[in-house]
Symmetry: C2
Subunit: 414 residues, 2 copies
């Protein structure tokens, strides 16, 4: 078992610098895959989709009523209706068999194909039918109440552009083309590894000195929520050998696709303890980009690359780990997934209690909304209830020392 000396963090970098260094490394995933259209919500199109057909594929009635020659209706009114002979009824899903000639009409349902010769539809409310005769009570102009062939989409039209995030209506537009499969960018696969001899898996009995694994669950959840595919690994023991074996598995694991995961997220082991080996492992297998950020909580965070893949070493404390996931991992993941920056639902509320923040660090501060006021909810970075009993968080920049009671703050809701 390797036991290196304790290494205090000598210098921290500002949060903005950390964000920029991460952004430079976490570039969009180029890998593509074909998936069923029905599963494509929230995914990102990896190619333009051009229509190979007109939608609708035929001119159709836009109203229930009577297909007519518009000219036959000119001058019609309630007092002087024009009378036409009904030669056929056409329902949706059927093709008309008769051609309209002057003085005739075809009863037609919304969406049914227009008969040859007809150029307009009189809506049923403006007609009176008796036997095979229909009285037209209002004139229509040519093309009125007719959906022309290709009105929605024409052959060759670009229906989806590369980079579009698919949503219900875009999925509908692809369905209109008869496309049952769609080509999208692969989601980034994120290997999650909790390290630490004290970490027990859920369902086990705790041994003395042990605590349950929280970070595997919070990280899996937040990764899934922001366009990634979590790949949790078994907790690794605090040895160089165990960590290296876990990294090898994450980078090479077949089930994660060729080349394994796209991102590694470790929790624990990035502080200054004797057994905090993440730094050694990255140093041996890859490159350290930074160690230590001027944020609170979450200062002992390490970021680097292994085989060119971004690797986050999150603090082991559950609130520090999750707050850093919100501030650093989520933007990186969304960029890799080609999703827009996170849409946070924010509310502006007066602060219910003065906050003093003299650490010189950018602060992630959880709050609870009580009677329209943001009340501090932060306990300690080791306490998951600092977040689970909060409704959201505010950020306090490093250069701000005091936020006064009553000051309006921007609460980002969880």
């Amino acid at each position: 078992m390797s036991k290196t000396e304790m290494r205090p963090i000598k210098e921290t970098i500002p949060l903005e610098e950390a964000r920029q260094l991460i952004a430079d490394t976490c570039t969009p995933i180029a890998r593509r895959e074909r998936i069923p259209l029905i599963d494509a919500n929230g995914r990102v199109a990896s190619a333009d989709v051009h229509s190979t057909r007109d939608v609708p594929p035929f001119a159709r009635a836009g109203m229930d009523g009577f297909a007519v020659i518009a000219d036959d209706t000119f001058g019609a009114s309630r007092y002087e209706p024009k009378t036409l002979r009904v030669i056929e009824k056409v329902y949706t899903g059927e093709m008309p068999t008769r051609q309209l000639t002057p003085g005739t009409a075809v009863e037609i349902a919304t969406g049914a194909p227009m008969p040859a010769g007809a150029d307009a539809v009189v809506m049923v409310e403006e007609t009176e039918k008796t036997g095979d005769l229909v009285r037209i009570l209002t004139p229509v102009y040519p093309r009125q109440n007719v959906g022309r062939q290709g009105a929605d989409i024409v052959v060759g039209q670009t229906v989806i552009r590369e980079g579009d995030v698919l949503n219900p209506s875009r999925i509908g537009a692809l369905a209109a083309l008869g496309v049952a499969q769609v080509e999208v960018y692969a989601r980034p696969t994120v290997a999650i590894l909790s390290t630490g001899n004290e970490i027990a898996d859920l369902g086990q009995e705790l041994k003395p000195g042990q605590i349950y694994d929280i970070n595997k669950y919070t990280l899996s959840t937040i990764i899934q929520e922001h366009g990634g595919v979590p790949a949790p690994f078994a907790t690794a023991q605090d040895t160089i050998e165990a960590l290296e074996a876990a990294i090898d598995a994450a980078l090479g694991r077949r089930s994660l696709g060729e080349g394994g995961c796209d991102v590694l997220v470790f929790s624990g082991g990035s502080s200054v303890g004797e057994r905090d080996l993440i730094l050694d492992v990255i140093g041996r297998m890859g490159e350290i980009v930074f160690h230590g950020i001027a944020v609170k909580p979450g200062k002992p965070t390490v970021f680097g690359t292994i085989q060119g893949k971004p690797m986050f070493g999150m603090p082991g404390y559950p609130t520090s780990c999750l707050s850093n996931a919100y501030m650093l991992l989520v933007p990186a993941l969304r960029a890799m997934a080609r999703l827009h920056p996170r849409h946070t639902h924010s509310v502006s509320l007066p602060l219910g209690q003065r906050i003093v923040s003299t650490t010189g660090r950018h602060q992630f501060y959880t709050v609870k909304v009580v009677d329209g006021v943001a009340m501090p909810a932060f306990k300690a970075s080791g306490d998951i209830t600092s977040m689970s009993q909060a409704d959201g968080y505010i950020e306090i920049p490093a250069q701000t020392d005091i936020v006064d009671k009553g000051q309006v703050v921007d609460v980002r809701l969880f």
Copy 2:
């Protein structure tokens, strides 16, 4: 084949009245289920969860450093350090074996259990170790840098309340208790049925007069996005018999759980065409609550109940169907799923072009954001591109006739 007469919609009800009638019928689902914690994001807890243990289960070091008796450090400074004898090292996951006595210290890692006798931790940065002696450079007070047993959660504490929507940190709080399964409310299962002889399934060749099924895809997607489980059925032909058989299947289908689906959503067949049979079927099998809403698009919408279950008859036109899903189905579904009302991401933008809306109907109007201005994107209610090429929508109340160019509107982004 039943061919009833065309029935024009004689009276429409205002949108707000329709929303209220739907809200009265669509009450929260009471069914519960146990699911793995890792799958619980976004689900709603169906019972309070009380802790059966203290978290952390032992007093632990809050810093890397030396566990001491605080009294031994009083008066320490860089110039007059106090020297203690190091009797043990304790890493996380290990139990201390020695008891502290005055003049001794235990080297300890963040998160490791405190040794008996110690009441504070001096952080490593404030110490100098040589052999088995450590010089303490600053005093600590009792309990400083110590996380007490139960500081995060104590036995009996309510960690999750019935009705809480689970999110990453709440899932973390459950993980802290070692809970691998959680009890949640079941999601509403929604039977989706496109009706119409003209509707072809994706992957088939279109026959003359046919179009592809769009609504099954848009509805499935939006239902999934808002806490429901879509259960798409094969398209039904326009006959009373086919529709009744489909409803029987939706209400009784075993795979949908006891009693089948919780909601039925049909599209097509609620207009005034001769073959629009939904009204007849609801009339025969259940109760009609309303038919016809003063909205545009989406007027020919029917809502009723069959065997006490809400049943939406959406217009067949894809944009009408989807806009009504946003305005009527989504709020109903979220209420049944016990989710908060939809968090729409809205932006306030000036309108780029005057809109005249003199229909006396509440209007769902799609817009595209171009250079910071909301430009009308609406084509026709039959055109899915009215929505798929838009970025969001504005609502224009029935009593508003004109929205001027430059007026600031609230765009709800898709």
